[in-house]
Symmetry: C2
Subunit: 339 residues, 2 copies
């Protein structure tokens, strides 16, 4: 059985999202069980409204909830019985193989780092995500916001972790192609830090293909894209903004006249498929990379469909035995380098 | 008459693009004339193939062309008779009110800066562009790649210049809203440089609305978005990549089956309108901001339609008497600040 701890109270919508997502997820994955952490009565009440297989759900009571705008250090110091903290404790204690939360990102990272610690050789965990690319490929992008300033050594660590994540999750890619996000493909491009990272990556054992540009994210020419968390977070949100803007234009186009609406009726199967392909919920579930345990962050405002994808991300990582392979890879890759 | 100098040989395609673009542009703008700089015979031969009103075209002969991959300093030192350099000289000498080139960006910036110099108070020119936003609004984004490292004072200068550009080009906006691109809206977010820029902007006379995120670019909630050139260039290319990726999916959707193709036939007017709205050629023409003269950079690989839009951008800036208003604004805005 695969066991995942769920911060049942986290996110903008708490149990109204996590309970139906848990039910749906368990219906679809017969070898999974969930530990729902939160107010016991509230969790029970929310679950009975769903078709959840209750025999595969354990409820662990907790009395506190981390607020979405709570400073991370405040949550870490004062909310020791929060649903978030208790869920992560379950991973540390070996009672769950992963924790999933839609709560406050900063608090989740601070708590996860404090409770689980980082893998040896990794100073700072990163936030990674698989983004869709050409020909139904996936590209692992990191860091997406955990570290605003990253020295070059840290960018190298991101590349090692991203490579390992791709290898674990997509075993058919045994030499994932790594690209360094930059303002041009030539090696003289970029800030001093990025130039130093270029040379570290070039001298590593990774399959480094060089600098890539923003337009290469979807090209399928790389499997891993590395950048600092400042750039990565802005890029991720720019992608979301662009997709929303264009999606809105498509929608407007098909609703702005009677004729357009008539055509839209016939286009429905095509438009539905398109909508599904760009549905951000399918790519929900950011991975906290570099911890001694699996922690998945769901978008705070997502719905049950989105939260189920976050649970699925955790499920797939557990199945891939990711943490153990990460620890080995980091040790191996860093031992080859004088950094 | 509005006179624009054109680097007729620049870009990936040179005269095959610049000549028909020039013809079309002059047909549409009766109060404009162009000085086409390049190999006289080649320019003449290219123009006779078009319906250009030759009485409004002057050809200035030049013997050299800056290569697309030529190091900027090499071009600056060794190509004094390049079509690019001569076009910029014409602006300096007051013979043209703007120069437009699809050539090597680095060489164009280095040459423009060397020949025209910067506006007093501005140390480094920026690259700005108007991007489409919600409800047919436009947002001025800068810097899009001229400066990879920007101290906070420079980000403030970008905000001043962007504000002035919006005021000149969209006079209905007399207090353009300025946003600082960041990883969150709270003032504690971002790198030290960005935090310092936040406080400079807050204490300025600009209409600073605070930090904005990548997803806000298209929201219409700001008129000017400020960031360093490293982030800006990656963001711009990410937008292009995302738009291309999604556009490709829409196209795939409407061609993948006989039924889809049949629906596409009926959807044609809608899809055409959509395609036109996201057509990157309509947003061609990046503005080199902070120089004592108007220089517009066209995308190197654009076609005649795209290059015509770059010419139009120059035309509009000249009409708005932008450079004079910029010099006044910079002086005024910086005099209020202790920077």
């Amino acid at each position: 059985m695969i066991t995942i701890a769920v911060d049942a109270m986290g996110g903008d919508n708490g149990l109204t999202v996590t309970a139906p997502a848990a039910a749906q997820f368990l219906q679809r994955n017969a070898d999974a069980r969930l530990i729902m952490v939160g107010d016991e009565t509230a969790v029970k009440n929310a679950l009975v409204k769903t078709n959840a297989p209750l025999e595969r759900i354990e409820i662990v009571h907790s009395t506190e909830v981390v607020a979405m705008d709570e400073p991370p250090q405040h949550a870490l110091k004062n909310k020791k019985d929060s649903s978030m903290r208790v869920a992560i404790n379950l991973v540390k204690d070996g009672k769950a193989a992963a924790a999933v939360s839609a709560g406050n990102t900063g608090a989740l990272m601070a708590t996860a780092r404090f409770v689980l610690k980082t893998v040896s050789g990794i100073q700072h965990p990163a936030i990674a995500k698989f983004l869709p690319a050409k020909d139904d490929q996936l590209v692992c992008a990191l860091d997406l916001g955990a570290n605003v300033d990253c020295p070059s050594e840290q960018l190298l660590q991101f590349a090692i972790m991203g490579t390992q994540l791709v290898k674990a999750m997509q075993p058919e890619k045994n030499k994932p192609k790594v690209g360094l996000l930059n303002v041009g493909t030539e090696d003289i491009k970029g800030t001093d830090t990025v130039k130093a990272a270029y040379s570290l990556l070039k001298n590593s054992h990774l399959n480094f293909i060089g600098n890539v540009e923003g337009s290469d994210i979807f090209s399928g020419k790389v499997d891993v894209i590395v950048c600092d968390g400042f750039v990565g977070n802005i890029v991720l949100k720019t992608i979301e903004g662009t997709a929303g803007f264009i999606g809105g234009m498509v929608k407007d186009g098909f609703t702005q006249s009677l004729y357009a609406k008539w055509v839209a009726m016939w286009s429905l199967p095509i438009l539905k498929k398109f909508k599904q392909k760009v549905d951000p919920r399918r790519f929900n579930g950011a991975i906290f990379l570099g911890l001694r345990g699996i922690v998945i962050k769901s978008h705070g405002g997502t719905d049950a469909v989105g939260f189920e994808y976050a649970l699925l991300e955790a499920y797939k990582e557990i199945k891939a035995d990711f943490i153990q392979s990460l620890e080995q890879a980091v040790e191996q890759d860093l031992s080859h380098l004088d950094v």
